[in-house]
């Protein structure tokens, strides 16, 4: 069975500073990895994905993530945080074959202070 760990319940960063939201995963075989963002009382919005190829993937709103197979990690990054980035971020995984449904982490709340 697959699993996702997001070790930080909350990340605080000042506007303009770089941000990192951590994610590690466990899955049989090659992973498909995703980041989603959730604003209050809303559904999840897709940010980016890693399927294959370049380990650094770029997504929406200036976010990027780096796939590290040896560390089984897929950390979300942004060079310069905005106050509007404040939201709940979820990392998710599914295996290359088999079950297509996503397994999500417990989420990390990002707070960007002006």
């Amino acid at each position: 069975a697959q699993s996702v760990a997001q070790p930080e319940d909350q990340v605080n960063v000042a506007e303009g500073n770089p941000l990192t939201v951590k994610c590690t995963y466990s899955v049989s075989g090659n992973p498909y990895l995703f980041w989603y963002v959730q604003y209050p009382n809303r559904g999840l919005q897709f940010l980016l994905k890693y399927i294959t190829g370049d380990n650094l993937v770029k997504g929406s709103y200036g976010f990027e993530a780096e796939f590290n197979k040896s560390q089984t990690s897929f950390h979300l990054k942004k060079p310069s945080a905005l106050v509007s980035d404040s939201a709940l971020y979820f990392c998710a995984v599914r295996p290359y074959t088999g079950r297509r449904a996503l397994t999500f982490g417990s989420g990390t709340r990002l707070q960007v202070q002006p």
Partner: protein
């Protein structure tokens, strides 16, 4: 931009009552998912459809929950009877499925259920 539609957005019901949620996926999406998100946690799969067929309902509490997607388009999730522990956000998502699948799932706004 095409979106996944869900209704109602909010539902308050008393325990032991029946409740139903509706989802209309993005047009042309063959795969439809229902997830449950308890406050403070990530979403967890309840049921997955490929067209009109259930392909994964291993986490669906079948004694009280049922789901259908009769024509392979929109879907209904029902709870009967509702229990206090069912209070959560119910999210519907869809993806293309098939050989053209780009793998990401698109989520609706969710239905927030409160059972009193």
């Amino acid at each position: 931009e095409a979106e996944v539609a869900q209704s109602p957005r909010y539902k308050i019901t008393e325990k032991s009552q029946a409740v139903a949620f509706w989802c209309d996926p993005i047009s042309g999406h063959a795969t439809l998912y229902w997830y449950r998100q308890i406050l403070g946690q990530g979403p967890e799969l309840l049921v997955q459809f490929q067209d009109e067929s259930v392909v994964d309902d291993s986490q669906l509490p079948k004694d009280r929950f049922s789901a259908e997607r009769l024509k392979g388009v929109d879907s209904t999730l029902k709870i009967q009877p509702a229990e206090l522990g069912d209070s959560a956000m119910y999210l519907c998502a869809s993806s293309l499925g098939g050989p053209q699948d780009s793998y990401e799932q698109y989520f609706g706004p969710g239905t927030r259920l409160t059972v009193t």
